[in-house]
């Protein structure tokens, strides 16, 4: 299992070193509404979870993603 940053960097093809807790659709190229769905699918696949739609709407920063994944028992 990779880290949240690794999944984000893979989906959008950006340097993982350039990502931090605050990375969001504003700071990452390609993280638009369609990109967000791709990211969610990649997180679900990577961590073996199915993410609720409310949570999907909330997970718009790396920090938020990590926090919400905790509620699914995923600590990355």
């Amino acid at each position: 299992m990779g880290t949240v940053e690794e999944v984000v960097s893979r989906v959008f093809g950006v340097d993982p070193g350039g990502l931090d807790d605050g990375s969001s659709p504003e700071t990452v190229e390609g993280w638009d509404s369609m990109g967000h769905l791709n990211l969610m699918a990649a997180l679900e696949h990577e961590f073996g979870v199915s993410i609720d739609i409310d949570d999907v709407m909330e997970m718009v920063t790396v920090k938020k993603i990590r926090e919400i994944l905790l509620q699914y028992g995923v600590e990355r």
Partner: protein, 712 residues
């Protein structure tokens, strides 16, 4: 005062490395990697390069991440050459390093190597299909690539935009450069009905229409009654076929409608099959009737979406969540499969259908080596191992039914092989199924080239199947135009691998396709005769050629479209007309479309030539003239030209004008007009105009051809 902490860490690491090396300890790789990271972090790139190099020399496997970090640091330092070298060495060691491949792309894009960057993206998506959206985004920035263009429009009742990146990849893999138009959400009806819509302004080559059952027939989410189902079915069939007819009336595009699929399970449970209002049966009926409606129209198809979803697994292929959140229907794996299925329509439309499959024998058509085991020892028969090869041969035989040729290319002694081809009781494919045989010890690239020459087709028409990776690699390198298939080591996957190729599709199967294999055998006999005949003239006479020229009629349109899109060598202008174009020419009084049928003592070739002539003031212009390669070298094209000549003279037209647009392949047509007394008038952008003065020049039929003229 001691050195700084950083220096002492480095010193410690080096001591540990030395100790680990001495003890051949398993920690050696990890320790070396740590030192490497430290060097890269400290911008000591020359030392890092040396470390990586010497590690590789000693067989140490340092992590891919270290190579990538080093390359990135080199890139930041402005040394693109060194960065490229680092990353290429990583990829040579580990061809599956996705992030390394992505970095290679970035590098190439940064130094403006557009073509190489496109290729790097192709490879990236091949390694990891989920990078398709990334690749699509990047291509938009890279700038155009050379290649044949294709214009693809998507219309749907749901959000089908995510299909675009996957279609993009598939097109580029086939050498096509796609342009896309995606209709506004759920406005497929308006797009089709309004002549001013974006769809028509885009002028698509092909339109895919994806309709969701629940959008068309919301009652499907509940428990519709038998009456509701009957009414719903008629409504769907009627509205979809009317839309397609409308679209076909306004555009020459190929129209491909997706089948309708049910998202969940029947509300009737196991009783479904016993009820008159069975939903499972109903959806079968809807799709069958839709298929029939589309089959009754020209250039319209039903894409087997349920089969596509089935291959992914319908629960993995459809996602309710995507629908709730974004009005999408299909997951990425399903979109990828759908894009592949879509190429089955795009490829024949763009003339990319492959014409011949060349197979190896040992390990490919049967198990084991016949030269060692003998004809009775090879694995081929009703039980495993052996049955998988019988099954594979049947799939190859099936291909011949749509006009695909088979040929053999095997390193073997003919004396070992021929008894198997002729007498082995379980061979499905026999000598007569192969249009060319190369059973020798010559290298396979040469053999493939000579097969292409013998069959008079391009190398880009060949598919090569061989179980030996060394032979495959040789052919890939020497003849990149040939499609060399990555045959799996497990022969029980052969049939599936063959059937998953999207390169054998035809938009229509004609009588000529079904007879093609037989015609090539007749060719082989004809060539045998050629060798025995004394002079060329004697030979041509002995062929007893009959040629018939007639005005084209509606039933020939499918064959004509096929010829216009496949004929490369004898084709004066290479205009790729589609069904609607030909229908228009047939209906126009100013156009004359001629067909040429040829037969000889070895068989009937069917329709092998065509010409389109346009009446213009003071002259008739030959817009197109083409001849199938099977009929080349017989002078039958003269018979076709002679009919045009006669018709124009009968109408007192003073001049015939011919055009010749040279391509990479139509060399054999270059002297067509000069050979028949035409004089060149001019040349603009490589396109030549020739003309024949009908008052002074004459054209005669070749003496060895019996000519018949069709009426109209």
């Amino acid at each position: 005062m001691d050195a700084s902490p950083g220096v002492s860490v480095e010193r410690g690491l080096r001591e540990l490395i030395a100790a680990a090396e001495l003890a051949k300890a398993p920690e050696l790789e990890a320790l070396t990697a740590m030192l490497g990271q430290r060097l890269v972090g400290g911008q000591r790139l020359a030392e890092a390069v040396e470390l990586v190099r010497s590690a590789a020399e000693r067989g140490l496997r340092l992590p891919g991440a270290l190579h990538r970090q080093l390359a990135q640091a080199q890139l930041r330092a402005g040394d693109t050459t060194a960065a490229e070298k680092t990353i290429r060495e990583l990829l040579k060691r580990d061809a599956h390093d996705v992030e390394g491949q992505r970095l290679l792309y970035r590098l190439l894009a940064a130094c403006g190597q557009t073509a190489a960057a496109h290729t790097a993206l192709d490879r990236l998506v091949e390694l990891d299909p989920t990078t398709a959206p990334f690749a699509h985004r990047e291509r938009a920035k890279l700038g155009p690539m050379a290649g044949r263009a294709v214009r693809i429009a998507l219309l749907s009742s749901y959000v089908l935009d995510p299909l675009v990146p996957f279609l993009d990849v598939e097109c580029r893999r086939s050498g096509l450069v796609p342009e896309f138009y995606v209709g506004p959400y759920n406005q497929y009806t308006q797009e089709i009905l309004s002549p001013a819509s974006g769809l028509y302004a885009f002028e698509p080559d092909v339109v895919f229409i994806g309709l969701d059952l629940e959008d068309l027939f919301p009652a499907a989410r509940g428990v519709p009654s038998a009456q509701e189902l009957a009414a719903g079915k008629d409504e769907i069939r009627g509205s979809v076929s009317a839309l397609v007819r409308e679209l076909r009336g306004r555009s020459s595009a190929l129209v491909v409608v997706h089948e309708l699929a049910i998202t969940g399970r029947s509300p009737h449970g196991i009783l479904d099959s016993r009820r008159p209002d069975s939903l499972t049966r109903w959806i079968e009926d809807v799709n069958r009737e839709l298929g029939q409606e589309l089959a009754a129209q020209t250039h319209a198809f039903l894409l087997p979406l349920r089969e596509v979803l089935g291959r992914v697994g319908s629960e993995h292929g459809q996602s309710r969540k995507l629908h709730y959140m974004a009005r999408m229907r299909h997951t990425d794996p399903a979109l990828r499969e759908l894009a592949r299925a879509s190429m089955r329509y795009v490829k024949p439309l763009k003339g990319l259908t492959r014409k011949c499959v060349v197979v190896d024998l040992d390990g490919t058509l049967w198990g084991g080596v016949v030269g060692e085991l003998g004809p009775e020892g090879i694995h081929l028969g009703p039980a495993a191992p052996g049955v998988e090869f019988v099954d594979f041969q049947e799939a190859l035989l099936n291909l011949t039914r749509r006009g695909i040729l088979l040929a053999v290319c095997s390193k073997n002694n003919p004396d070992d092989v021929m008894p198997v081809l002729r007498d082995h009781k379980h061979m499905v494919l026999r000598e007569e199924h192969f249009s060319a045989l190369r059973i020798n010890w010559t290298n396979k690239a040469e053999n493939l080239a000579s097969i292409a020459e013998e069959l008079n087709i391009g190398l880009d028409s060949l598919v090569f199947l061989d179980d030996n990776p060394v032979e495959r690699e040789l052919v890939r390198q020497m003849l990149p135009e040939v499609l060399t298939v990555e045959l799996p080591r497990d022969a029980s996957q052969y049939r599936t691998t063959l059937e998953s190729l999207t390169d054998f599709e035809l938009l229509a199967v004609t009588k000529e396709d079904e007879q093609r294999a037989g015609q090539y055998q007749a060719n082989r006999r004809r060539q045998a005769l050629e060798r025995t005949a004394g002079s060329l003239d004697e030979y041509l006479r002995s062929l007893e050629i009959h040629a018939r020229v007639a005005p084209a009629a509606a039933p020939q349109v499918a064959r004509l479209v096929q010829m216009f899109n496949k004929t490369n060598q004898f084709n004066a202008t290479t205009r790729r007309y589609q069904t609607p174009d030909l229908e228009r020419f047939l209906a126009s009084p100013a156009h004359h479309v001629y067909t040429l049928d040829v037969a000889d003592r070895f068989g009937d070739h069917g329709l092998v030539g065509a010409a389109i002539v346009v009446e213009e003031p003071g002259a008739w212009r030959i817009d197109s003239v083409l001849l199938s390669c099977r009929a080349m070298g017989l002078s039958v094209e003269t018979v076709l030209l002679k009919r045009i000549y006669d018709a124009a003279r009968a109408r007192n037209v003073p001049r015939l004008v011919g055009e010749f647009i040279p391509t990479r392949k139509n060399g054999p047509t270059a002297d067509f007009y000069s050979r028949h007394g035409f004089r060149q008038d001019g040349e603009i952008d490589g396109s030549q105009t020739w003309s024949l003065d009908l008052r002074t020049e004459r054209i005669d039929d070749p003496a060895w051809i019996a000519v018949q003229v069709g009426g109209a």
